[in-house]
Amino acid sequence: MNTKKIPTVYEDQDVIEAINHSKSLDPVIRHLYHTNFDSVASYIRSNSGNDEDAEDFFQEAIVVFINIVRKGNFRGDSSIKTFLYSIARNLWRNELKRQNRVLMRETNYYEQTEKEEQDIQESIGENEVKDQLLHLLEKLGDNCKKILLLFYYENLPMKEIFQHMGYETEQVARNMKYRCMNKLKGLLNEHPEMKQNFRSLLANG
Protein backbone atom coordinates (compact mmCIF):
# COMPACT_ATOMS: atom_id res chain seq x y z
CA MET A 1 0.00 0.00 0.00
CA ASN A 2 1.32 3.39 -0.90
CA THR A 3 1.04 5.49 2.24
CA LYS A 4 2.83 8.50 0.85
CA LYS A 5 0.92 11.66 1.64
CA ILE A 6 0.12 13.73 -1.38
CA PRO A 7 1.52 17.19 -0.83
CA THR A 8 -1.15 19.82 -0.53
CA VAL A 9 -0.94 22.60 -3.06
CA TYR A 10 -0.19 25.82 -1.28
CA GLU A 11 0.03 29.36 -2.47
CA ASP A 12 2.59 31.48 -0.63
CA GLN A 13 -0.15 33.17 1.32
CA ASP A 14 -1.47 29.78 2.50
CA VAL A 15 1.96 28.88 3.78
CA ILE A 16 2.21 32.07 5.82
CA GLU A 17 -1.30 31.56 7.11
CA ALA A 18 -0.55 27.96 8.14
CA ILE A 19 2.71 28.87 9.86
CA ASN A 20 0.99 31.57 11.88
CA HIS A 21 -2.22 29.78 12.73
CA SER A 22 -2.09 26.02 12.22
CA LYS A 23 -1.54 23.70 15.13
CA SER A 24 0.42 21.23 13.06
CA LEU A 25 3.25 22.32 10.80
CA ASP A 26 3.54 18.91 9.16
CA PRO A 27 1.84 19.75 5.81
CA VAL A 28 3.68 23.07 5.50
CA ILE A 29 7.06 21.52 6.18
CA ARG A 30 6.34 18.84 3.58
CA HIS A 31 5.33 21.49 1.09
CA LEU A 32 8.52 23.48 1.74
CA TYR A 33 10.60 20.34 1.19
CA HIS A 34 8.74 19.33 -1.96
CA THR A 35 9.06 22.72 -3.57
CA ASN A 36 12.45 23.95 -2.40
CA PHE A 37 14.78 21.24 -1.22
CA ASP A 38 16.19 20.26 -4.61
CA SER A 39 17.28 23.77 -5.60
CA VAL A 40 18.87 24.44 -2.21
CA ALA A 41 20.57 21.03 -2.14
CA SER A 42 21.91 21.61 -5.62
CA TYR A 43 23.38 24.97 -4.56
CA ILE A 44 25.06 23.48 -1.49
CA ARG A 45 26.42 20.49 -3.40
CA SER A 46 27.87 22.72 -6.07
CA ASN A 47 29.61 24.76 -3.37
CA SER A 48 31.70 22.16 -1.55
CA GLY A 49 28.82 20.66 0.44
CA ASN A 50 27.60 17.09 0.54
CA ASP A 51 24.15 15.50 0.93
CA GLU A 52 24.33 15.66 4.69
CA ASP A 53 25.13 19.38 4.57
CA ALA A 54 22.18 19.90 2.26
CA GLU A 55 19.87 18.16 4.71
CA ASP A 56 21.23 20.03 7.75
CA PHE A 57 21.26 23.46 6.19
CA PHE A 58 17.87 23.15 4.56
CA GLN A 59 16.47 22.21 7.94
CA GLU A 60 18.11 25.27 9.50
CA ALA A 61 16.74 27.42 6.68
CA ILE A 62 13.20 26.27 7.46
CA VAL A 63 13.69 27.09 11.16
CA VAL A 64 14.93 30.58 10.26
CA PHE A 65 12.12 31.07 7.74
CA ILE A 66 9.39 30.04 10.19
CA ASN A 67 10.79 32.39 12.82
CA ILE A 68 10.86 35.27 10.38
CA VAL A 69 7.26 34.58 9.37
CA ARG A 70 6.11 34.31 12.97
CA LYS A 71 7.70 37.65 13.77
CA GLY A 72 5.74 39.16 10.90
CA ASN A 73 8.93 40.02 9.03
CA PHE A 74 8.14 38.19 5.81
CA ARG A 75 6.62 40.91 3.69
CA GLY A 76 6.17 38.96 0.49
CA ASP A 77 8.52 41.21 -1.56
CA SER A 78 9.88 38.01 -3.03
CA SER A 79 8.36 34.55 -3.31
CA ILE A 80 8.86 32.00 -0.52
CA LYS A 81 11.00 29.95 -2.88
CA THR A 82 13.37 32.86 -3.46
CA PHE A 83 13.36 33.87 0.18
CA LEU A 84 14.06 30.38 1.48
CA TYR A 85 16.83 29.97 -1.04
CA SER A 86 18.37 33.24 0.16
CA ILE A 87 18.25 32.07 3.76
CA ALA A 88 19.91 28.76 2.90
CA ARG A 89 22.51 30.55 0.80
CA ASN A 90 23.34 32.92 3.67
CA LEU A 91 23.55 30.05 6.12
CA TRP A 92 25.86 28.11 3.85
CA ARG A 93 28.06 31.14 3.13
CA ASN A 94 28.43 31.71 6.87
CA GLU A 95 29.42 28.08 7.29
CA LEU A 96 32.04 28.27 4.57
CA LYS A 97 33.45 31.43 6.10
CA ARG A 98 33.64 29.65 9.43
CA GLN A 99 35.63 26.91 7.76
CA ASN A 100 37.79 29.43 5.88
CA ARG A 101 36.53 28.10 2.59
CA VAL A 102 35.27 30.04 -0.39
CA LEU A 103 32.24 29.70 -2.57
CA MET A 104 32.92 27.77 -5.74
CA ARG A 105 29.95 28.92 -7.69
CA GLU A 106 27.79 31.83 -6.68
CA THR A 107 24.75 32.40 -8.82
CA ASN A 108 23.14 35.78 -8.71
CA TYR A 109 19.80 34.25 -8.00
CA TYR A 110 17.94 37.18 -6.60
CA GLU A 111 18.85 40.66 -5.49
CA GLN A 112 17.58 40.96 -1.95
CA THR A 113 16.33 44.21 -0.58
CA GLU A 114 18.44 45.64 2.21
CA LYS A 115 15.65 45.06 4.68
CA GLU A 116 15.23 41.45 3.66
CA GLU A 117 18.95 40.87 3.98
CA GLN A 118 18.92 42.43 7.41
CA ASP A 119 15.96 40.34 8.59
CA ILE A 120 17.58 37.16 7.35
CA GLN A 121 20.93 37.93 8.98
CA GLU A 122 19.26 38.86 12.26
CA SER A 123 17.20 35.71 12.31
CA ILE A 124 20.25 33.59 11.49
CA GLY A 125 22.09 35.27 14.38
CA GLU A 126 19.19 34.55 16.68
CA ASN A 127 19.17 30.97 15.54
CA GLU A 128 22.85 30.64 16.39
CA VAL A 129 22.40 32.07 19.87
CA LYS A 130 19.59 29.61 20.54
CA ASP A 131 21.63 26.73 19.13
CA GLN A 132 24.46 27.54 21.54
CA LEU A 133 22.12 26.94 24.46
CA LEU A 134 20.44 23.80 23.21
CA HIS A 135 23.04 21.57 24.79
CA LEU A 136 21.62 22.56 28.17
CA LEU A 137 18.46 20.63 27.38
CA GLU A 138 20.53 17.48 27.05
CA LYS A 139 21.61 17.88 30.68
CA LEU A 140 18.01 17.75 31.85
CA GLY A 141 17.42 14.05 31.32
CA ASP A 142 14.95 12.56 28.88
CA ASN A 143 11.82 12.80 30.98
CA CYS A 144 12.42 16.43 31.92
CA LYS A 145 13.06 17.41 28.35
CA LYS A 146 9.95 15.58 27.24
CA ILE A 147 7.63 17.09 29.82
CA LEU A 148 8.87 20.63 29.13
CA LEU A 149 8.52 20.20 25.38
CA LEU A 150 5.00 18.85 25.81
CA PHE A 151 4.10 21.85 27.92
CA TYR A 152 5.91 24.69 26.18
CA TYR A 153 6.08 23.48 22.57
CA GLU A 154 3.12 21.18 22.10
CA ASN A 155 1.08 23.33 24.51
CA LEU A 156 -0.60 20.26 25.99
CA PRO A 157 -2.54 20.72 29.23
CA MET A 158 -1.25 18.97 32.34
CA LYS A 159 -4.19 16.57 32.40
CA GLU A 160 -2.99 15.16 29.08
CA ILE A 161 0.70 15.36 29.91
CA PHE A 162 0.47 13.17 33.01
CA GLN A 163 -1.17 10.40 30.99
CA HIS A 164 1.28 10.81 28.16
CA MET A 165 4.24 10.55 30.53
CA GLY A 166 2.84 7.63 32.50
CA TYR A 167 2.56 9.51 35.82
CA GLU A 168 -0.08 8.42 38.26
CA THR A 169 -1.66 11.80 38.84
CA GLU A 170 -1.76 15.24 37.31
CA GLN A 171 -0.19 16.58 40.48
CA VAL A 172 2.91 14.44 39.99
CA ALA A 173 3.24 15.86 36.48
CA ARG A 174 2.84 19.42 37.75
CA ASN A 175 5.51 18.85 40.39
CA MET A 176 7.80 17.29 37.84
CA LYS A 177 7.35 20.14 35.38
CA TYR A 178 8.02 22.68 38.12
CA ARG A 179 11.23 20.96 39.13
CA CYS A 180 12.39 20.51 35.56
CA MET A 181 11.79 24.15 34.80
CA ASN A 182 13.79 25.17 37.86
CA LYS A 183 16.55 22.84 36.81
CA LEU A 184 16.67 24.39 33.35
CA LYS A 185 16.67 27.91 34.77
CA GLY A 186 19.54 26.88 37.03
CA LEU A 187 21.50 25.59 34.05
CA LEU A 188 20.87 28.83 32.18
CA ASN A 189 22.17 30.81 35.13
CA GLU A 190 25.45 28.94 34.81
CA HIS A 191 25.88 30.67 31.43
CA PRO A 192 25.18 34.32 32.21
CA GLU A 193 26.74 35.64 29.01
CA MET A 194 24.71 33.43 26.70
CA LYS A 195 21.62 34.10 28.75
CA GLN A 196 22.21 37.82 28.37
CA ASN A 197 22.52 37.43 24.59
CA PHE A 198 19.27 35.54 24.56
CA ARG A 199 17.60 38.18 26.71
CA SER A 200 18.70 40.90 24.28
CA LEU A 201 17.23 38.91 21.40
CA LEU A 202 13.90 38.62 23.14
CA ALA A 203 13.94 42.30 24.05
CA ASN A 204 14.59 43.24 20.41
CA GLY A 205 12.21 40.63 19.01
Partner: protein
Protein backbone atom coordinates in the same frame (compact mmCIF):
# COMPACT_ATOMS: atom_id res chain seq x y z
CA UNK B 1 7.26 31.22 50.74
CA UNK B 2 6.57 27.49 50.71
CA UNK B 3 6.87 25.20 47.73
CA UNK B 4 3.15 25.09 47.02
CA UNK B 5 3.00 28.89 46.77
CA UNK B 6 6.08 28.88 44.58
CA UNK B 7 4.37 26.44 42.24
CA UNK B 8 1.22 28.52 42.07
CA UNK B 9 3.32 31.55 41.29
CA UNK B 10 5.22 29.67 38.62
CA UNK B 11 1.98 28.43 37.02
CA UNK B 12 0.61 31.96 37.00
CA UNK B 13 3.77 33.12 35.23
CA UNK B 14 3.25 30.33 32.69
CA UNK B 15 -0.26 31.50 32.02
CA UNK B 16 1.02 35.05 31.54
CA UNK B 17 3.83 33.98 29.22
CA UNK B 18 1.47 31.77 27.20
CA UNK B 19 -1.11 34.56 27.00
CA UNK B 20 -3.71 32.62 28.97
CA UNK B 21 -4.64 35.26 31.58
CA UNK B 22 -7.97 37.01 31.16
CA UNK B 23 -7.98 40.80 30.91
CA UNK B 24 -8.56 41.39 34.59
CA UNK B 25 -5.86 38.92 35.64
CA UNK B 26 -3.53 40.40 33.06
CA UNK B 27 -3.94 43.91 34.38
CA UNK B 28 -3.38 42.71 37.93
CA UNK B 29 -0.31 40.73 36.87
CA UNK B 30 1.22 43.71 35.08
CA UNK B 31 0.69 45.92 38.11
CA UNK B 32 2.40 43.30 40.29
CA UNK B 33 5.31 43.07 37.88
CA UNK B 34 5.88 46.81 38.04
CA UNK B 35 6.16 46.60 41.80
CA UNK B 36 8.05 43.34 42.07
CA UNK B 37 11.44 43.08 40.40
CA UNK B 38 11.79 39.43 41.33
CA UNK B 39 8.55 38.60 39.56
CA UNK B 40 9.75 40.53 36.53
CA UNK B 41 12.98 38.53 36.57
CA UNK B 42 11.11 35.24 36.88
CA UNK B 43 8.91 36.15 33.92
CA UNK B 44 11.96 36.96 31.85
CA UNK B 45 13.62 33.66 32.79
CA UNK B 46 10.46 31.77 31.86
CA UNK B 47 10.30 33.56 28.51
CA UNK B 48 13.90 32.63 27.78
CA UNK B 49 13.41 28.97 28.65
CA UNK B 50 10.15 28.87 26.72
CA UNK B 51 11.86 30.33 23.63
CA UNK B 52 14.65 27.80 23.95
CA UNK B 53 12.20 24.91 24.23
CA UNK B 54 10.20 26.18 21.28
CA UNK B 55 13.40 26.32 19.24
CA UNK B 56 14.21 22.73 20.15
CA UNK B 57 10.61 21.65 19.52
CA UNK B 58 10.55 23.22 16.07
CA UNK B 59 13.81 21.53 15.12
CA UNK B 60 12.48 18.19 16.37
CA UNK B 61 9.29 18.61 14.38
CA UNK B 62 11.09 19.43 11.13
CA UNK B 63 13.46 16.54 11.62
CA UNK B 64 10.56 14.16 12.32
CA UNK B 65 8.65 15.27 9.22
CA UNK B 66 11.75 14.87 7.08
CA UNK B 67 12.39 11.39 8.48
CA UNK B 68 8.77 10.45 7.79
CA UNK B 69 9.03 11.77 4.23
CA UNK B 70 12.14 9.68 3.64
CA UNK B 71 10.53 6.56 5.09
CA UNK B 72 7.44 7.07 2.95
CA UNK B 73 9.64 7.71 -0.06
CA UNK B 74 11.48 4.42 0.29
CA UNK B 75 8.20 2.59 0.90
CA UNK B 76 6.58 4.07 -2.20
CA UNK B 77 9.66 3.24 -4.25
CA UNK B 78 9.27 -0.41 -3.30
CA UNK B 79 5.57 -0.30 -4.12
CA UNK B 80 6.24 1.38 -7.47
CA UNK B 81 8.89 -1.20 -8.31
CA UNK B 82 6.47 -4.02 -7.47
CA UNK B 83 3.69 -2.51 -9.55
CA UNK B 84 6.10 -2.00 -12.44
CA UNK B 85 7.11 -5.62 -12.27
CA UNK B 86 3.50 -6.70 -12.33
CA UNK B 87 2.67 -4.47 -15.27
CA UNK B 88 5.58 -5.88 -17.27
CA UNK B 89 4.33 -9.41 -16.90
CA UNK B 90 0.62 -9.15 -16.63
CA UNK B 91 -0.84 -6.08 -18.24
CA UNK B 92 -2.06 -6.72 -21.76
CA UNK B 93 -0.84 -4.44 -24.52
CA UNK B 94 -3.21 -1.82 -25.89
CA UNK B 95 -3.62 -3.72 -29.14
CA UNK B 96 -4.96 -6.94 -27.72
CA UNK B 97 -6.49 -5.57 -24.54
CA UNK B 98 -10.08 -6.02 -25.58
CA UNK B 99 -9.48 -9.52 -26.85
CA UNK B 100 -7.77 -10.56 -23.65
CA UNK B 101 -10.52 -9.20 -21.45
CA UNK B 102 -12.99 -11.33 -23.36
CA UNK B 103 -10.73 -14.35 -23.46
CA UNK B 104 -9.87 -14.62 -19.76
CA UNK B 105 -12.69 -16.04 -17.63
CA UNK B 106 -13.46 -14.56 -14.23
CA UNK B 107 -12.18 -17.56 -12.28
CA UNK B 108 -8.78 -17.11 -13.89
CA UNK B 109 -8.65 -13.50 -12.79
CA UNK B 110 -9.62 -14.51 -9.29
CA UNK B 111 -6.94 -17.15 -9.42
CA UNK B 112 -4.40 -14.55 -10.47
CA UNK B 113 -5.45 -12.20 -7.68
CA UNK B 114 -5.22 -15.04 -5.16
CA UNK B 115 -1.82 -16.00 -6.51
CA UNK B 116 -0.69 -12.38 -6.28
CA UNK B 117 -1.90 -12.14 -2.70
CA UNK B 118 -0.17 -15.40 -1.86
CA UNK B 119 3.08 -14.05 -3.30
CA UNK B 120 2.72 -10.86 -1.26
CA UNK B 121 1.96 -12.89 1.86
CA UNK B 122 4.91 -15.18 1.33
CA UNK B 123 7.11 -12.16 0.70
CA UNK B 124 5.85 -10.50 3.87
CA UNK B 125 6.44 -13.65 5.92
CA UNK B 126 9.90 -14.06 4.44
CA UNK B 127 10.84 -10.48 5.29
CA UNK B 128 9.38 -10.85 8.79
CA UNK B 129 11.27 -14.06 9.35
CA UNK B 130 14.53 -12.74 7.96
CA UNK B 131 14.46 -9.50 9.94
CA UNK B 132 13.13 -10.91 13.18
CA UNK B 133 15.52 -10.69 16.09
CA UNK B 134 15.22 -10.54 19.88
CA UNK B 135 16.83 -7.07 19.80
CA UNK B 136 14.21 -5.78 17.42
CA UNK B 137 11.26 -7.15 19.36
CA UNK B 138 12.76 -5.87 22.59
CA UNK B 139 13.26 -2.35 21.19
CA UNK B 140 9.70 -2.27 19.87
CA UNK B 141 8.25 -3.17 23.24
CA UNK B 142 10.41 -0.93 25.38
CA UNK B 143 9.77 2.01 23.09
CA UNK B 144 6.03 1.43 23.02
CA UNK B 145 5.29 2.56 26.53
CA UNK B 146 6.75 4.93 29.11
CA UNK B 147 8.53 3.45 32.12
CA UNK B 148 6.40 2.76 35.13
CA UNK B 149 6.85 5.71 37.47
CA UNK B 150 4.22 5.36 40.15
CA UNK B 151 6.15 3.52 42.79
CA UNK B 152 5.71 5.99 45.54
CA UNK B 153 2.88 7.91 47.10
CA UNK B 154 5.32 10.59 48.03
CA UNK B 155 5.17 13.62 45.80
CA UNK B 156 8.11 15.47 44.32
CA UNK B 157 7.60 18.14 46.96
CA UNK B 158 8.87 15.83 49.66
CA UNK B 159 12.34 16.11 51.03
CA UNK B 160 15.18 14.53 49.13
CA UNK B 161 17.32 13.91 52.13
CA UNK B 162 17.86 10.21 51.69
CA UNK B 163 19.67 8.40 48.92
CA UNK B 164 16.46 6.46 48.27
CA UNK B 165 14.67 9.75 47.60
CA UNK B 166 17.40 10.76 45.21
CA UNK B 167 17.11 7.43 43.40
CA UNK B 168 13.38 8.06 43.00
CA UNK B 169 13.90 11.58 41.70
CA UNK B 170 16.67 10.68 39.27
CA UNK B 171 14.57 7.78 37.99
CA UNK B 172 11.69 10.14 37.34
CA UNK B 173 14.08 12.49 35.56
CA UNK B 174 15.26 9.57 33.41
CA UNK B 175 18.89 9.93 34.58
CA UNK B 176 19.55 6.22 34.67
CA UNK B 177 23.31 6.35 35.15
CA UNK B 178 22.77 8.42 38.26
CA UNK B 179 20.07 6.02 39.46
CA UNK B 180 22.58 3.18 39.34
CA UNK B 181 25.33 5.18 41.00
CA UNK B 182 23.03 6.11 43.88
CA UNK B 183 21.58 2.62 44.06
CA UNK B 184 25.09 1.34 44.65
CA UNK B 185 25.30 3.55 47.72
CA UNK B 186 22.16 2.19 49.34
CA UNK B 187 22.82 -0.10 52.26
CA UNK B 188 19.44 -1.81 52.26
CA UNK B 189 17.54 -1.07 49.08
CA UNK B 190 13.81 -1.74 49.14
CA UNK B 191 11.97 -3.50 46.31
CA UNK B 192 11.03 -0.06 44.93
CA UNK B 193 14.69 0.99 44.52
CA UNK B 194 15.57 -2.44 43.15
CA UNK B 195 12.81 -2.15 40.56
CA UNK B 196 14.12 1.27 39.50
CA UNK B 197 17.64 -0.10 39.32
CA UNK B 198 16.34 -3.00 37.21
CA UNK B 199 14.80 -0.62 34.74
CA UNK B 200 17.94 1.55 34.71
CA UNK B 201 20.06 -1.56 34.02
CA UNK B 202 17.76 -2.39 31.11
CA UNK B 203 18.19 1.10 29.74
CA UNK B 204 21.96 0.81 30.12
CA UNK B 205 21.88 -2.63 28.48
CA UNK B 206 23.34 -4.26 31.58
CA UNK B 207 21.03 -7.17 31.04
CA UNK B 208 22.26 -9.69 33.57
CA UNK B 209 21.98 -7.16 36.38
CA UNK B 210 18.51 -6.20 35.14
CA UNK B 211 17.42 -9.83 35.29
CA UNK B 212 18.76 -10.26 38.83
CA UNK B 213 17.03 -7.07 39.98
CA UNK B 214 13.60 -7.99 38.60
CA UNK B 215 13.95 -11.53 39.99
CA UNK B 216 14.66 -10.04 43.42
CA UNK B 217 11.57 -7.85 43.20
CA UNK B 218 9.41 -10.82 42.23
CA UNK B 219 10.71 -12.84 45.15
CA UNK B 220 10.04 -10.04 47.64
CA UNK B 221 6.67 -10.67 49.31
CA UNK B 222 6.25 -6.98 50.07
CA UNK B 223 6.40 -6.18 46.38
CA UNK B 224 3.05 -7.78 45.51
CA UNK B 225 1.76 -4.46 44.09
CA UNK B 226 4.39 -4.35 41.40
CA UNK B 227 4.94 -8.05 40.89
CA UNK B 228 3.22 -7.94 37.49
CA UNK B 229 5.39 -5.07 36.38
CA UNK B 230 8.57 -6.78 37.51
CA UNK B 231 7.49 -9.93 35.70
CA UNK B 232 6.86 -8.05 32.47
CA UNK B 233 10.21 -6.28 32.57
CA UNK B 234 11.95 -9.50 33.53
CA UNK B 235 10.56 -11.05 30.35
CA UNK B 236 11.85 -8.08 28.38
CA UNK B 237 15.23 -8.43 30.06
CA UNK B 238 15.36 -12.08 28.93
CA UNK B 239 14.50 -10.91 25.44
CA UNK B 240 17.29 -8.34 25.55
CA UNK B 241 19.62 -11.06 26.76
CA UNK B 242 18.66 -13.39 23.89
CA UNK B 243 17.03 -15.95 26.19
CA UNK B 244 14.18 -16.25 23.74
CA UNK B 245 12.35 -19.30 25.00
CA UNK B 246 12.12 -17.95 28.55
CA UNK B 247 11.04 -14.52 27.33
CA UNK B 248 8.40 -15.81 24.93
CA UNK B 249 6.96 -18.28 27.44
CA UNK B 250 6.67 -15.57 30.08
CA UNK B 251 5.05 -13.09 27.71
CA UNK B 252 2.56 -15.76 26.55
CA UNK B 253 1.58 -16.41 30.16
CA UNK B 254 1.21 -12.68 30.80
CA UNK B 255 -1.01 -12.32 27.75
CA UNK B 256 -3.29 -15.16 28.82
CA UNK B 257 -3.67 -13.92 32.40
CA UNK B 258 -6.81 -11.74 32.51
CA UNK B 259 -5.73 -10.19 35.80
CA UNK B 260 -2.24 -9.27 34.72
CA UNK B 261 -1.38 -5.57 34.45
CA UNK B 262 0.18 -6.12 31.02
CA UNK B 263 -2.40 -8.53 29.62
CA UNK B 264 -3.60 -6.00 27.07
CA UNK B 265 -0.29 -4.51 26.11
CA UNK B 266 0.82 -7.34 23.82
CA UNK B 267 -1.05 -7.40 20.53
CA UNK B 268 -1.80 -10.56 18.56
CA UNK B 269 0.63 -9.64 15.81
CA UNK B 270 3.42 -9.09 18.32
CA UNK B 271 2.74 -12.46 19.95
CA UNK B 272 2.69 -14.14 16.56
CA UNK B 273 6.11 -12.61 15.80
CA UNK B 274 7.37 -13.79 19.19
CA UNK B 275 6.36 -17.35 18.28
CA UNK B 276 8.05 -16.97 14.95
CA UNK B 277 11.18 -15.79 16.74
CA UNK B 278 11.08 -18.86 18.94
CA UNK B 279 10.93 -21.06 15.84
CA UNK B 280 13.81 -19.21 14.26
CA UNK B 281 16.27 -19.60 17.12
Amino acid sequence: MDKSNNMDRSERIDRYVKGNLDSEELQQFRTEMQQDNTLQQEVEDTQITQALLQHQGLKNEIKAVRAAMKAEGSQSTVVEENSNTLSTHEEPSEVDAEENVKAVPMYQWMGRVAAGLAIVLVGYLTIQYATLSPERLYEERIASEPPYLGLSNRSMEDQEDTIADQVRVEYQFGNFEEVLRLYGELEKPTFAETFRAGYAYLEQERTEEAITSFQQVMEDQNAFMIKDKAEYYLALAYLQDGQIEKAVDMLEVIHKDDDHDYEDSLGSLYLWRLRLLKMKY
